[in-house]
């Protein structure tokens, strides 16, 4: 098995690229989450603006990732920064969408009762709406993360970090020695990262689950 031999020989590099890939995805998703959740909260009282933002961020998602990365070059050059920006742009839609859905899904009676008890809008958001919407929001972040794990590999076209480098190097030299193994090990790495991060989210969901909603 040439692949296994290749992977053991290059274990150090592959581990390094895998770590880079995970970091890249988590940083980008973090930025997407701040923007996505932030936009959902800021547009609470302006449903039309919110709707517009949903359409806009949804449209951005339809730009082929290869093209979006290429479009970044004239604006930001090559390297880590344009990769993160492009990934963060992709991540906004699922998080914004789910935050809006999560907030809208909170029982209006609960919010009304909280209002009637004299809870200020900020306190209602913190102690009632966000906790109850959290499972849905978290799911949006999870969807964005898995999506970005795959998209991040394309970031190598702008010399972004991560496993994409391995894949693109292999593809460029196709027919050369170990080219297939190189590309394949990158792909395997991406799948591995996706699985690890998905497990991470399952764990987070378990840990942050609201006891009151799951009791019998």
């Amino acid at each position: 098995m040439k692949l296994i031999a290749y992977m053991t020989d290059n274990a150090d590099l592959l581990v390094f690229l895998t770590e880079q890939h995970i970091e890249l995805v988590l940083v980008s998703v973090g930025i997407s989450a701040v923007i996505g959740i932030g936009l959902a909260l800021l547009t609470q009282s302006t449903p039309r603006l919110r709707h517009g933002l949903l359409s806009l961020t949804g449209t951005l998602l339809t730009i082929p990732s290869f093209a979006l990365f290429a479009l970044m070059i004239p604006l930001m050059g090559l390297g880590v920064a344009p990769t993160i920006v492009a990934l963060a742009v992709y991540g906004i839609f699922p998080i914004l969408r789910n935050t809006v859905t999560g907030i809208e899904g909170v029982d209006p009676a609960v919010v009304e009762a909280a209002r009637g008890l004299g809870m200020s809008p900020g306190r209602r958001m913190r102690t009632v709406v966000l906790p109850l919407a959290w499972p849905v929001i978290l799911n949006g972040i999870r969807t964005a993360t898995i999506m970005l794990v795959a998209t991040a590999a394309i970031g190598a076209v702008v010399h972004g970090p991560g496993l994409g480098q391995e894949i693109f190097r292999g593809l460029e030299r196709i027919g050369g020695a170990n080219a297939i193994e190189e590309a394949l090990s990158g792909v395997i790495g991406v799948i591995f990262v996706a699985l690890v991060l998905d497990l991470l989210f399952i764990a987070i969901a378990k840990i942050t689950a609201l006891r009151g909603l799951n009791v019998r």
Binding site: A113, G116, T127, V215
Partner: protein
């Protein structure tokens, strides 16, 4: 300020010409409504849907901001007071209850005390006290979650939560509407008992005239267009409906319903004190309802009732006179 009406000394809630006009709607939801509710009084707002009774209720704690008019609570003009602190001082119970599903029963009850800065251990004790008060075992329920309770139990917790900071005023929007009829009647009776001991000023909204008659010290019947058709005691409303709308609204059977509101003493007052004595009379307390007295007479087959007076002087009333008097509203009330 001088020529504007002010609340009287014993008024707990005073609405001075309040109106609510929603933008884009031709007719006001509530227009120029004035009402005074006394300290410790249980007032029920009743009327057909769309009559503005819920809007009126929600203007008292300003969940709906009045377009015009003034609101006084306990003598203070709160029309422009800070809403959140106003609401923390007014208990609020809604039909859908709205317990926070992710908080325990104790934390739900202690929401307002927590906002008012009460310490953790004191909040816990307060929650236990209130559970006791509404007839739930604290040892069992304190650490439970809303989902683990039945509808009736949840509504009791809703009442406990509204009472947590011991507010002088409670607002209730169809509080017993979501539970089944048997539980509803039980909750109503429990609530009346509770109210007898805590003596809050309560305003409750319902569309059920029977519930209104059973619970209210006074009933405000709203007509179409938020017109206050009649605002009086249940007995007065059944005896002297103000107009055809009220008559229609209370429906048939008013004379029979009055029997459970009239006291034997009310009826006796319209007879001379020297009515002939009866050989076969059943003894009844003067504070008993006429309904109960009739039940006793019919069950025992007696000719009438005997009401023990002070110093062994009993008064008698035969069945026919009892019925005739009970059926004559104006005479009885005069």
């Amino acid at each position: 300020m001088s020529d504007r009406p002010a609340p009287s000394q014993d008024a707990m809630i005073f609405l001075d010409g309040v109106s609510k006009h929603y933008p884009g709607q031709a007719k006001a939801a509530v227009s120029e409504l004035s009402m005074e509710i006394k300290r410790g009084e249980f007032v029920v707002l009743v009327g057909p849907s769309g009559c503005g009774k819920t809007t009126t209720l929600r203007m008292i704690n300003r969940l709906v901001e009045p377009t015009r008019g003034r609101i006084f609570i306990d003598g203070k003009d709160v029309t422009h007071a800070d809403v959140d602190s106003l609401r923390r001082g007014i208990g609020y119970v809604i039909q859908q209850i709205g317990l926070l599903p992710h908080l325990t029963i104790a934390d739900n009850i202690a929401l307002v005390p927590k906002m008012l800065g009460m310490k953790r251990t004191d909040r816990r004790r307060r929650a236990e006290e209130l559970l006791e008060l509404v007839g739930l075992d604290p040892a069992v329920h304190v650490g439970r979650y809303p989902k683990q309770l039945s509808g009736g139990q949840q509504q009791r917790v809703g009442v406990a939560r509204a009472l947590a900071a011991d507010p002088p005023v409670m607002l209730m929007d169809e509080p017993f509407g979501a539970v089944d009829p048997i539980v509803r009647e039980k909750l109503q009776m429990e609530f009346l008992r509770l109210q007898a001991s805590i003596r809050k000023t309560i305003v409750m909204v319902t569309h059920d005239i029977d519930e209104a008659l059973r619970l209210g010290d006074r009933i405000a019947i709203f007509g179409p267009g938020s017109r206050l058709a009649q605002f009086d005691t249940p007995l007065a409303i059944l005896s002297n409906p103000a107009d055809d709308f009220v008559r229609d609204f209370i429906g048939s059977g008013a004379p029979v319903r009055r029997l459970s509101l009239l006291k034997v003493s009310d009826v006796l007052a319209s007879f001379p004190s020297d009515m002939p004595s009866l050989a076969n009379a059943i003894e009844v307390d003067a504070g008993e309802t006429v309904h109960r007295a009739l039940e006793l007479v019919l069950a025992s087959g007696a000719e009438g009732i005997e009401v023990g007076g002070a110093g062994g002087t009993s008064r008698y009333l035969d069945l026919q006179s009892l019925l005739t008097a009970a059926a004559q509203p104006t005479k009885v009330l005069s």
